[in-house]
C-alpha cells in the first residue's frame, strides 16, 4: 500500500486512515497464521519514482522469500 507522505496528502487524512487499516489487516493476517509482512504501508510522494522502484523491489524480494501464499488452493497446508 502506497500513501502520500504524512502531512502532505491532498486528502489530508486519507493516508493516516490507510495506515491504521493496513495495521488492522496485518493483525488479522497474524491471527490467521499468515505472515503479516506480506502487507506493508509505504509513504512516498508522486515525484519519487526511484523510491517507488526501490520499494517494489524490496516487497518482491520479501514475498519471494516468504514463498507463495498459503491461501492459494495449490499451496494449502
Amino acid at each position: 500500500m502506497a500513501g502520500c507522505l504524512e502531512g502532505e496528502c491532498h486528502f489530508l487524512t486519507g493516508n493516516f486512515k490507510a495506515k491504521k487499516r493496513v495495521q488492522y489487516v496485518k493483525k488479522v493476517l497474524e491471527e490467521l497464521g499468515i505472515e503479516p509482512e506480506r502487507v506493508e504501508m509505504f509513504n512516498l510522494s508522486a515525484g519519487e519514482g526511484p523510491r517507488f522502484a526501490e520499494i517494489a523491489t524490496e516487497m518482491t524480494e520479501r514475498i519471494r522469500e516468504l514463498g507463495p501464499s498459503p491461501v492459494k488452493p495449490q499451496n494449502a497446508a
Binding site: 488479522v28 499468515i34 498459503p70 492459494k72 497446508a77
Partner: protein
C-alpha cells in the same frame, strides 16, 4: 445505542468449525453505528473466514446479508427464504438478534459473532463509553444529567466513595469519578444543596432485579 465488540476470531472459527455453508447476517441498527455488525463488517468477517478455511485447504461457503434490524419480527421475516439452507447463520447483531432469529426459525442454528457490552455512545471516533444501565427508572435529572448507576463503579447514589481521587475512580486512572463531576457541576451552578435532599431508596424492581422485563404499550398493541 447498544454497543458491541466482535468476538475474537478464534471463538467464531470454533463455532463454525464443523460448518461448510454459513450465512453471516448483519444488522443496520446499533451495531452498524458502532461499526461492529453492519454490511461492511459482515463483508470483512466473511472474507476472514473464507481465507482462514482456504488456508486449511477446505472451503467454507459464506453468504452475506444485512437486514434493517434483527429485533423486529417484520425484518426477521425477510430471511425466511434463506434460513434452512445453511449449517449455521452467524448473527452480527447484538444479543437480541440471534435470539429473535432462533425463536422465529427453531430448526436453524444461529451463532452470535459479537459480544454485546453496554448502552452508550461514541465519545470520539472509534471510542464508545457507557452511559446507561437500563435500570428502568431514570434518575439523572437529580444529578445534572449524569448517571451514577452506569458511571460510578459502585453505582453509588449518595455521593463519592473514599476511592475518589483527583477526579478519578480508584479502579483506574482512565475512569472518571462521576460523583466528582456531579458535585463540581452542582457547586458551579450553586445547587450543591440539591444533593442534601434525602431521596427515597431507589426502586430496583424495574431493573434486572425484577427478573426479565417486558414493556407493554397498550395504545400500540393490536
Amino acid at each position: 445505542m447498544i454497543v458491541a465488540n466482535r468476538k475474537p476470531l478464534a471463538e467464531i472459527r470454533e463455532m463454525v468449525e464443523n460448518c461448510d455453508k454459513i450465512l453471516i447476517l448483519g444488522c443496520k441498527g446499533c451495531v452498524t453505528v458502532c461499526n461492529v455488525g453492519g454490511a461492511r463488517e459482515v463483508s470483512i468477517l466473511a472474507s476472514i473466514l473464507r481465507i482462514a478455511r482456504k488456508k486449511e485447504g477446505r472451503l467454507l461457503h459464506v453468504d452475506e446479508m444485512t437486514i434493517e434490524r434483527q429485533c423486529d419480527p417484520e425484518y426477521i421475516e425477510q430471511v425466511k427464504d434463506r434460513v434452512g439452507q445453511y449449517d449455521a447463520v452467524v448473527s452480527m447483531a447484538c444479543g437480541v438478534g440471534p435470539q429473535f432469529l432462533s425463536e422465529a426459525y427453531p430448526a436453524q442454528r444461529f451463532f452470535p459473532a459479537v459480544n454485546t457490552t453496554f448502552f452508550g455512545g461514541a465519545i470520539q471516533h472509534g471510542v464508545w463509553a457507557e452511559r446507561c444501565a437500563g435500570c428502568g427508572t431514570c434518575i439523572i435529572h437529580y444529578f445534572d444529567g449524569m448517571c451514577p448507576i452506569a458511571r460510578c463503579s459502585k453505582s453509588l447514589l449518595h455521593g463519592p466513595c473514599g476511592g475518589s481521587a483527583n477526579g478519578k475512580c480508584e479502579i483506574s486512572k482512565e475512569v472518571d469519578c462521576i460523583w466528582d463531576k456531579i458535585v463540581r457541576k452542582k457547586m458551579e451552578e450553586g445547587h450543591l444543596k440539591d444533593l442534601l435532599d434525602p431521596k427515597p431508596p431507589k426502586d430496583w424492581r424495574t431493573a434486572r432485579d425484577g427478573g426479565p422485563r417486558k414493556s407493554v404499550r397498550e395504545e400500540l398493541v393490536q
